[in-house]
């Protein structure tokens, strides 16, 4: 990693200042910032360490959570990537509750660590590639569902497609999730066919998934993030807006504050790099690449997101295939009217 002039590199690659006790022990430049994280930091804030993991920590200021992580965590809208030299953050003495100061030039955690922005680049989600045809998307959704059913962990929603019927071995999560996902599919179908005005429709089919399931970000939240991203990638603007509005209108307190922050970012069109890669692979027809992209995201989070993607994709494709003949007739009538 890059060294400051008065900094020595430790055996493990950390920058340890030796010049002055007033200086922080650790200086690690922030390399990339997600667009929401950078925007938030420009405004300045007092925050505190909310959670510390091996490769990342979360800073919290009111309802906003910003992730400060090693490059391996991947870029995201609320993520700041710093070079920690391969060390585990949990070994560096950061603890939840420790105060942090955020300003346009740097983040300071206590007086021990400083993370300057002077070499920081902005990370934005890349453009979505051109989507395959509806029939090809149907195939890729089926292929992913097969891979997910076979490989996803028992926890989470990844094996949802295995449990069309209530049966022995079904987990309590699956018993609750199966009808809720079915209601979500029905809701999404109605929105896509413009049979329901999402501003007046019941929130329940969406709200029922928020906060549902295990993990730091509950499976239902990951599912909805996947649903939002695939709608965006397929340019289903009305459905995306309907889902985003419904999530925004949902009461607070349905999920953890951290997951709530990430889900609202997703509703605003901001999703992380890993999910972007998976979605790009899905709409390009590369099922195995999509699965590879999410395989190591959390324990079940990646699979939950992908289940949201494939579930929503199936509804979208079915709606498109159903309406395609009508659109063709409509276009034919328009053509006739010209003559």
């Amino acid at each position: 990693m890059t060294l400051d002039t008065n900094v020595m590199q430790s055996r493990d690659g950390w920058n340890i200042r030796t010049a002055s006790h007033a200086d922080p022990d650790v200086v690690a430049p922030i390399l990339r910032a997600g667009i929401l994280a950078r925007e938030f930091c420009r405004g300045g804030a007092h925050a505190e360490v909310a959670a510390v993991f091996e490769r990342s920590l979360y800073l919290r200021s009111a309802d906003i959570f910003v992730c400060l992580g090693a490059p391996a965590v991947g870029n995201g809208p609320l993520t700041l990537i710093a070079n920690f030299g391969g060390s585990n953050l949990s070994d560096l003495g950061f603890r939840p509750g420790r105060p942090a100061f955020i300003c346009d030039r740097y983040i300071a955690i206590g007086d021990k660590a400083r993370f300057p922005f002077d070499r920081c680049e902005l990370w934005r989600r890349p453009r979505w590639p051109r989507a395959q045809s509806s029939l090809q998307l149907t195939e890729v959704a089926r292929a992913i569902a097969r891979l997910t059913a076979a490989e996803a962990p028992e926890e989470g929603l990844g094996r949802l497609s295995c449990w069309h019927e209530r049966g022995a071995g079904e987990t309590p999560l699956m018993r609750l999730a199966r009808p809720r996902v079915a209601r979500f599919q029905s809701w999404m179908n109605d929105v896509l066919e413009a049979q329901r005005d999402p501003t007046t429709a019941s929130l329940e089919p969406v709200v029922g998934l928020i906060g549902l399931g295990p993990g730091l970000t509950p499976s239902g939240d990951d599912f909805l993030a996947g649903a939002l991203a695939i709608l965006d990638a397929l340019a289903e603007r009305q459905a995306h807006a309907a889902l985003a509005r419904t999530i925004a209108a949902a009461p607070r307190g349905l999920t953890s504050p951290l997951s709530d922050c990430l889900l609202r970012a997703a509703a605003a069109g901001h999703v992380g790099e890993t999910l972007c890669r998976a979605i790009s692979a899905v709409i390009s027809g590369a099922a195995e690449t999509a699965v590879a992209a999410i395989r190591h995201v959390g324990h079940s989070s990646g699979w939950d997101m992908l289940t949201g993607v494939t579930t929503t994709l199936a509804v979208v494709v079915n709606a498109r295939l159903r309406t395609a003949p009508a659109k063709i007739l409509c276009r034919a009538r328009q053509t006739q009217s010209k003559y």
């Binding site: 091996e54 391996a72 509950p218 349905l254 504050p257 959390g298």
Partner: protein, 505 residues
């Protein structure tokens, strides 16, 4: 009487992987009937309520809180489990996992990351495996060597060196082990239990451990030795040390030895050591005859018999309704195996039934493949000639497709015998692949039992419902594709013999 205990941690965030691991660990603690570790959202409280483990404390939790909920058979078990759970929650970093991206690049770095580690799994090209294994031994680690292509002289020297250090070398070419409940390389998810397995054979360990698991019992440890450990040049160094280890392990009450027949001098060495053990042994040296067993050991002719003897009970082998091969078809059996030991077991069952059988890896009593009319043929598709430069059929089932198409087209073949091996390391959906291949071959499932063309297809599925590919779903896919699924590999072989009218059970 069952008790429900809830512990709430305010504003606590743990990594998802840590949450899941602790949740699973708590669920397997003694006396725990059900457990969950989730954040306190309203929807998650619904889940805990549905599971019958939500108490008043948990019900008051907020969405930012962490709820640990469990139901135990009595309050002592519940309190003990809760204490252990709290310890695990308070020390997540110490038992944390490392992502592939952050994985250490040297053994020394790995030891720094995990100072309590006592085993290294080596999977590098064979030329480098011995050096890496030696480094691990010098760092005080037991070693599992997945790599093959290691000269036998190097293997023997390494194992002697390890023995002097009091460390175990599993392998080279050791594809399967389960140590302390942790599956290593190709292994299945089986419950902990009192049966220890020592095996020179990967799929042999898998089949025995899965049969035991499906009968409701469990495995203490399964120690792989590598395929050549019972060779005279190596002298069973690992097998003997593994017997020492399981003798000293209080959780192990019965030991199963699985291997091809060893050299006579080595068999004597091993059986002499077995005789000194206070524990009962089942010895499954596939194809071996006239073993002079000590009083505490019993011989098993098949993997299925080994599992049954270890449990003191018969495994479930209820057969599917079995049609006979159609009169227009030939009466030959073609076995196409991913698992070498499963292939050997099928050969032994055929030879025991008085049938001539040939194989590319012949078991005792079978003939080598000559290329002429070989009669019943059992092919080990995991053998070197099929896997050189290609993935093993357990990883890539398409390796079997060509041989399967040939067998389907051969009018002399009345029965095709297959194995489907599940578990960690195996293909994510081998049954799905097989079903797709059969569908592409225009086999109509409904007509399979009575169709006038095409052979019967029999299969065994080595795995458990807890595997990454749950066995029940894999069996269902095969059944829907018209494959007759047996409860064990041995049972599938016996059913094949019955189907060609050569014998009754």
């Amino acid at each position: 009487m069952s008790v429900i205990l809830n512990e709430v941690r305010r504003s606590t965030y743990l990594d998802s992987i840590v949450l899941m691991r602790i949740s699973r660990q708590v669920a397997t603690l003694p006396g725990v009937e059900e457990a969950g570790l989730v954040i306190g959202t309203p929807a998650n409280k619904d889940i805990l309520r549905e599971a019958g483990i939500l108490g008043p404390d948990g019900d008051k939790a907020e969405p930012g809180d962490l709820i640990l909920a469990l139901r135990a058979e009595d309050s002592a078990a519940g309190e003990a489990a809760l204490a252990e759970a709290k310890r695990l929650i308070d020390q997540p970093a110490a038992s944390g996992t490392t992502s592939p991206v952050d994985a250490p690049r040297t053994l020394r770095a790995a030891i720094r990351d995990m100072p309590d580690a006592n085993l290294a799994l080596i999977s590098v090209p064979g030329h480098f495996a011995i050096d890496e294994a030696r480094k691990a031994l010098r760092l005080g680690l037991n070693v599992m060597i997945f790599s093959d292509n290691v000269p036998i002289a190097d293997e023997a020297a390494l194992k002697r060196e390890a023995r002097d250090l009091g460390l175990l070398v599993m392998g080279p070419d050791c594809g399967t082990a389960i140590i302390g409940g942790v599956p290593l390389a190709f292994a299945n998810v089986v419950p902990r239990g009192d049966v220890g397995i020592i095996g020179a054979s990967g799929t042999g360990i898998q089949e025995v451990s899965c049969l035991i698991a499906r009968a409701g019992r469990g495995i203490s440890h399964a120690i792989g030795t590598g395929g050549r450990d019972l060779n005279a040049q190596v002298g069973a160094i690992t097998t003997l040390m593994a017997i020492d280890a399981l003798d000293a392990d209080a959780a192990t009450r019965h030991v199963v030895l699985v291997s091809k027949p060893p050299a006579h001098s080595v068999a004597t060495l091993v059986l002499d050591r077995v005789a000194q053990s206070p524990k009962p042994f089942t010895v499954c040296f596939l194809g071996a005859r006239d073993l002079a067993l000590p009083p505490n050991a019993r011989a098993a002719a098949t993997l299925e018999a080994a599992a049954e003897l270890a449990m003191g009970a018969t495994s479930a082998t209820a057969q599917a309704k079995l049609p006979l091969v159609h009169a227009d078809r030939g009466k030959l059996v073609r076995g196409l195996f991913a698992g070498g030991t499963l292939c050997a077991e099928a050969q032994i069952i055929f030879t025991q039934a008085g049938l001539n059988v040939a194989s590319n890896v012949p078991a005792p009593g079978a003939s080598p493949v000559t290329g002429a009319k070989d009669g019943h043929l059992m092919i080990d598709l995991g053998a070197d000639e099929f896997t050189r430069g290609r993935p093993h059929p357990m990883i890539e089932p398409a390796v079997r497709d060509h041989a399967l198409a040939e067998a389907l087209a051969d009018p002399e073949v009345g029965v095709i015998l297959l194995d489907v091996v599940l578990g960690h390391g195996a293909h994510p959906d081998p049954a799905g692949h097989l079903a797709a291949v059969l569908a592409a071959g225009a086999l109509v499932p409904e007509a399979l039992a009575e169709r006038d063309s095409g052979p019967l297809i029999l299969a065994c599925v080595t795995g458990t419902d807890s595997d990454p590919q749950p066995r029940a779903a894999q069996v269902r896919k095969l059944t829907e594709a018209g494959v007759i699924v047996a409860e064990s590999n041995a049972d599938a072989a016996r059913m094949a013999i019955m189907a060609i009218g050569a014998s009754n059970r």
